[in-house]
Amino acid sequence: MLSQAVVKRLKEIVGEKNVVTDKVGLLTYGYDGTLLSGEALGVVSPTTTEQVVEIVKLMNEQDIKLVPRGAGTNESGGTIPSEKSVVISFTKMTKIHEIDTENFVAVVEPGVINFDLQVELAKKNFYFPPDPSSFKASTIGGNLGECSGGPKCFKYGVTRDYMLGLEVVLPNGKVIQTGGRNFQSEPGYDLTRIIVGSEGILGLVTKVFVRILPIPRAKKTMLALYDKVEDASQTVADIVAAGIIPTTLELMDNLLINTTEDFTHAGLPRDAGAVLIIEVDGYPEDMDGQVKTIGEIASKIAKEFKVAQTAVEVDQIWTSRRSAFGSVARVRPSYGVNDITVPRSNFPKAIGGVLKVAKDFGVTIGVVAHAGDGNLHPLILFDQRNKEETETVHAAEQALCMMALDLEGTISGEHGIGLVKKKYLDKEFTPAAMEAFRKIKRSFDPSNRFNPGKIIDL
């Protein structure tokens, strides 16, 4: 419980309406996209950098920790108030300060929803490449915190590649700027990069300079259908070997084809073992050649290959893909998302590994993957009401992580570590690397005030 005096001070800082201390309010800020939950001492929603500074100073004075939060759609538990802490919600810092298409930069507040930025950019024929599946709900600040990926990473990279500069409130309440409006303005160390993906444990970002790009003049979306998942991964390898860099190589297995069909009715054949969504973009005159090459490569193995002819068809394909996570609830009510990533060459082995885990643990697993990146999201289906089953799922998740590490991969390709995968982190990193993380954390936040318990313990 926060004392009356602290609540009063908080209300003075951000206004009556932007402080939550009632049970109902606290309950709704205690969860995110995972199965975890916690209860904050309070929730405070600042609207300016100055307010953030004041909040940080007050919390320091009171020795209370802060958990930053955007839309709370993450899959890592990164925004769970796991220790006694106040949640600082950025959903009310939603200003788009500036969109400067001539200079390829936009300046936004962290609470701007990715989709809302895309809508504004689209009016000027620009876009912001990182678009995680949650992009219609998740905030730029949240994307930055988790270093989100999305389906276009194979060509365009992840969130970190689009962050030019930040305004950051440090744990001591001081404000710094990192980077600037371009690639070349980093002061000494690349502070922008270390803050991106740090899940708020190093600083609170209050302004973001993002790189924006013109919407490619042309785009082609293709679909290839396979009997087996392994066949699809062969196509992926062949496309890369042919020197083509598609924006997207998305894979869904039979289970997901069926669950998404239930929702979207996009017309995917329900008996297909896997579907691969392939997209290329660039200049119009280069499209035909690439589509032809890809078509030839895919057709060697695929049982069907087709090129989307209309915008509606493209839309349908993407609706299927984007709804993949949720749609599995039609089979079982709960699912655990995994985010393992392996070197592309080990992708077929990882698929095999997933099947083995499913068999060993007797769980149902659906696979959706950014195949070009070697990033798999095995979704383990279960019912969270069943404690025993839930335990089995956790064990299976651990097995998946270990499998990925055995294949020289990582436990997180784009979702982050948070609380969920923290316990496996020292399996991926050597003690020296773990210590390097701690050194960095200590430099920024020696008293461990910002998002304590996430990624690493001090």
Binding site: N103, G157, Q177, F183, P187, G188, A241, I245, R344, I440
Partner: protein, 434 residues
Amino acid sequence: MSDVNISKLKGIVGDAYVIDSPSEMAKYLKGQGKPAVVVLPASTSEVSSIVKLANEKNVKLGVGGAVVDTQGITGGIAMVMSRMNRILEMDHLNLVAVVEPGLLHKDFILKVAEAGLNFPPEPYVIETSSVGGCFAIGDSDSKSFEYGPTRTFLLGFEMVLPTGEILEIGNKCIKNVSGLDFIHFAVGSQGTFGIFTKLLVKLLPVPEAKKAVIGTFASMHKANATFNTLIKRNVHPTRMNLINASLAKIAKPGTEGQLVIIDLQGFKESGKNIANEVASVLTLGGGSDVKIIEEGAEYDQVINGWLKVRAELNAKPSEIVEFVVGPMKMPQALSQLEAQTGDLGAYPGIIVEGLLGYVCLALPEGTDKLALARKVNKLAMSLGGNVKGLLGHKLKAEVYNDAEMWKQTTSLLSELRQQFDPKGILNPGVSLEA
């Protein structure tokens, strides 16, 4: 009197690779400092042992690929990485390579090309830059608009920390957000967090076609105006560079006037059309001798000309001022700059990277760099930019009259450095104070 234990060093790397005669040492060194010894390790464990040895006696240690900057290491050790120059792996399936840091950048690019692949970051100085140095400096270059800055191409590394401990991090996954992003944070840290001993580098397929369009212009302003035209027409070449008359002669002997180099890496079909479009924009914009270059050797010559100019400027960091503005703000920037410098064409050197909005000025002898940088920074800030890097940051804080922000930034940087290198032995010449 030095605390360097030569015999122990010899025990680690072998007699032949410990050099302490000043005349022999010279070719490995640059700058005014006087290290006691040059040592050339051949393996990670040798590097680690050397660093541990330095730690025992608190000896300063400077590291370089082929040449070591001696600032701050008088009486200390200069470590040259040139013996660690192997390509340990070239993995076509995953488009990655594992490289030792001492491999010369130019040699690496050749090997990568032989393998039918592409490593976009450009050497800082053609002859002496190493791959390790490339990531230690971690700059961007004129192709960064298309390919991303240097850090984009590092997936992992092995590093000997200032304590001698060996740290390995990263993997062949092109997407990896596990832990804190120390992988990319280390890029640009100039050897203050540790010494790279192995680099896991991301590669790309080679572009289907490469072309260049060149042209010469009577004035910088006219030349630069064509860049704005191209951006407005939604044409984004791989690079779009402008070299003033004084430097143009280095890039392409015999050039009269300001030289524009437009590099188009991509597909055959669009490449043809865009080259034509670019050529007409250059011609209409007042360019003469506008030429589309398709032939490989000639293309390489043009690009190498550019690299030579870049190397020339990078070789004298104290004699250049670099700044960035929004690419479309460049016309104002150049006009305002001219008010400070006089005729840009006649200036000792100016280059413009059009897509990045980057300008590098080579200063005439006797110029007060800091005074000019201050003026330039104000100019740049009014156009959405600033002087590059740490210096720019300091000047920005000055303009904001925000001494506290600058203090915070530098104290954070030093705290980080201190955490990794508590004794301050590694590359002490690198300043984080601007």
